[in-house]
């Protein structure tokens, strides 16, 4: 940004603001240190409490939780739900974003708005809305029906991240030119989507997928209200019985979240990722 430099001579005429500058950096370090303490200490305490007993250092909490069969089944349940959600969300978002970019650019603000709404609708309200709306349909009468509702809610919750990520990716590749090229080679819509659009948006889709994954793994409200054997409710139940194991599990889930976010940053390399909030 070195376009307008005529301010520099004037700035040099002003007594160089050296003293405040030093103070600025000092203040910055102070605030950073305080915030870092507040944000890191609870994590350290958690790690500490998971590896100590009155008798000393131990990794028992970890070995026990990893050996616990319910841990595996609950984790796989949430993992499966996340995969299903990501698949459905991708199938809904990618063609829609593609179609909007290509044919209906006027609708883009509307879609954008609709995909941000789930960020502000508390999952609690969404869940009760679903229960109310599907009241006395097959969806609320059976465990499978509740599962469908949960996945539906998850897909909705994934939209903000999925859509923004895909839409941003869509703006960086020339969708129109790619489409025309594919069409002039005789490709139909199915082939264009599958062989041209998806591969070009893979990074964006992965980006959205990792956020979705970490959110669903930590998700508590929807699954507990719909009585689903998900990962987070299991963690809370466990904390009443085996506090140390539950803490170990909390650390494992934190590490998994960390890995997902790291993956996004590595894949996205510097591209700004969407704000992340979930699992309130």
């Amino acid at each position: 940004m070195a376009t307008i430099t005529n301010a520099q001579p004037a700035a040099a005429a002003v007594p160089a603001p050296a003293a405040p500058r030093k103070r600025t950096i000092g203040l910055a370090w102070l605030w950073f240190t305080l915030a870092a303490l507040f944000l890191i200490l609870p994590l350290l305490a958690m790690v500490w409490s998971s590896v100590t007993t009155p008798r000393g250092f131990t990794l028992n909490a970890y070995t026990e939780i990893l050996a616990e069969p319910e841990f595996g089944s609950r984790f796989m349940f949430s993992f499966g739900a996340a995969l299903l959600t990501i698949t459905l969300s991708t199938l809904l978002v990618v063609p829609t974003a593609y179609w909007v970019t290509l044919r209906l650019p006027r609708v883009r603000p509307v879609i954008e708005f609709l995909t941000v709404v789930p960020l502000v609708i508390p999952p609690l309200l969404l869940t009760f809305g679903l229960i109310r709306f599907f009241n006395s349909t097959p969806l609320t009468n059976s465990q499978n029906g509740l599962y469908v509702m949960m996945i539906g809610a998850y897909v909705i919750l994934s939209f903000p991240y999925m859509y923004r990520s895909v839409d941003a990716g869509m703006q960086t590749v020339n969708i129109r030119a790619l489409t025309e090229a594919a069409q002039s080679l005789g490709a139909g819509w199915g082939i264009i989507l599958r062989r041209v659009i998806f591969p070009n948006l893979l990074v964006s889709v992965l980006n959205g997928s990792f956020i979705t994954f970490s959110i669903i793994l930590g998700e508590f409200v929807v699954s507990s209200l719909l009585n689903q054997p998900a990962f987070s409710p299991f963690m809370l139940d466990l904390s009443y019985r085996e506090a140390d194991q539950a803490t170990a599990l909390g650390i494992i889930s934190f590490v998994l979240t960390w890995i997902s976010i790291l993956a996004i940053q590595i894949i996205g390399r510097g591209r700004a990722s969407a704000n992340i909030t979930g699992a309130r």
């Binding site: 301010a7 002003v14 603001p17 405040p20 950096i25 203040l27 910055a28 370090w29 605030w31 915030a35 507040f38 944000l39 200490l41 609870p42 305490a45 500490w48 409490s49 998971s50 809904l92 063609p95 829609t96 179609w99 290509l102 209906l104 609708v107 879609i111 709404v117 502000v120 609708i121 508390p122 999952p123 609690l124 309200l125 009760f128 809305g129 109310r132 709306f133 539906g152 909705i156 129109r176 489409t179 025309e180 069409q183 819509w189 930590g218 987070s232 963690m235 809370l236 539950a246 803490t247 909390g250 934190f254 979240t257 976010i261 790291l262 704000n275 992340i276 909030t277 699992a279 309130r280």
Partner: protein, 305 residues
């Protein structure tokens, strides 16, 4: 704009049309799956809460259900929810804002700023059950702080400082700060160097620059962030439930709502839906404020370009 004629003979799965007729066109059908999904899993469910809250058992429209909200238990829960949300919105804005300032304008090394941003991405997401474990490990009866303080004889009572309203504020602040950093960093990074230079050339001190230039520009962003953080705290459920267990219901509206639907307690679904409706209004107002102030903030930044 007359009759809806069959779209001009569908040209062979044609080249991309570069112009469109303004009338209804078949392209809209491509959005059907998405809109159908949104309708089934977002719009109608939200609408059905409103509908249920505003009708009586015979289906006629009434505001009578809203009377249930004056129940002392609910008033108490609302009061606590609002207080905690306000306090943590402010603490998040202040501390998160300062951290955000430190990593953008404070002159910290670049790698450190980037690490803070990455960490905030994770930490804003680190809410709910594991967060409560972390704070129990820190401030609990046998937590790190009390273990370290034991030689001094000081005891931080978790009943006062953790499993209480103060505890809620402390724990919520943990995810409010990173969220604030994520929201505020772009705004702070958008402050032009030229503005500061212009102010300094006109003889402004550091304090004057912040008071008369930077602060007014940032004000809409700050207000928007406050609104968003308020909504964020107000709709928290998992953290509250995990921290306070059976006591949670006096502290948060969300818990009271959820309890109305439990089969094992004497819940009242009508009250639950009415409460849910009232909460939708609170969140709706807050988000409207957020959207409005964001628009003003963006207008400012656009004008600057």
């Amino acid at each position: 704009m007359t009759t809806i004629a069959p779209p001009q003979t569908p040209a062979p799965p044609a080249l991309v049309r570069t112009f469109r007729r303004p009338a209804f066109n078949i392209d809209w059908l491509g959005l059907l799956p998405f809109f159908a999904f949104i309708a089934a899993f977002l719009f109608f469910p939200a609408f059905s809460i409103v509908q249920r809250a505003l009708t009586d058992s015979t289906g006629t429209i009434t505001f009578g259900n809203l009377g249930g909200l004056t129940n002392p238990v609910i008033v108490q829960a609302y009061r606590s929810s609002v207080i905690v949300s306000l306090i943590t919105a402010f603490s998040g804005v202040v501390f998160g804002g300062l951290l955000s300032w430190a990593i953008t304008l404070g002159g910290l090394p670049r790698w450190l700023s980037n690490s803070v941003l990455s960490f905030c991405g994770v930490a804003a997401n680190f809410a709910g059950i594991p967060l409560v474990f972390a704070f129990s490990a820190l401030l609990g009866r046998l937590g790190l702080v009390n273990q370290l303080l034991r030689p001094t004889g000081v005891f931080i009572d978790p009943q006062t400082w953790l499993y209480s309203m103060a505890g809620l504020c402390i724990v919520y602040t943990y995810f409010q700060i990173p969220l604030m950093v994520l929201i505020m960093t772009p705004a702070l990074a958008g402050l032009r160097k030229e503005w500061r230079e212009a102010a300094e050339n006109l003889g402004a001190t550091q304090g004057q620059y912040w008071r008369y230039v930077a602060f007014p520009i940032l004000l809409p962003s700050l207000l928007g962030a406050t609104a968003l953080l308020f909504a964020n705290a107000f709709s928290t459920y998992a953290t509250t439930q995990a921290l306070l267990g059976a006591m949670a219901q006096t502290f948060a509206v969300t818990i009271v709502i959820a309890n109305q639907f439990r089969t094992d307690t004497f819940g009242d679904p009508t009250l639950g839906y009415t409460l849910a409706f009232s909460m939708m209004i609170v969140i709706g107002i807050t988000i409207a404020m957020y959207t409005y102030s964001r628009r003003i903030a963006e207008r400012w930044l656009r004008r600057a370009e």
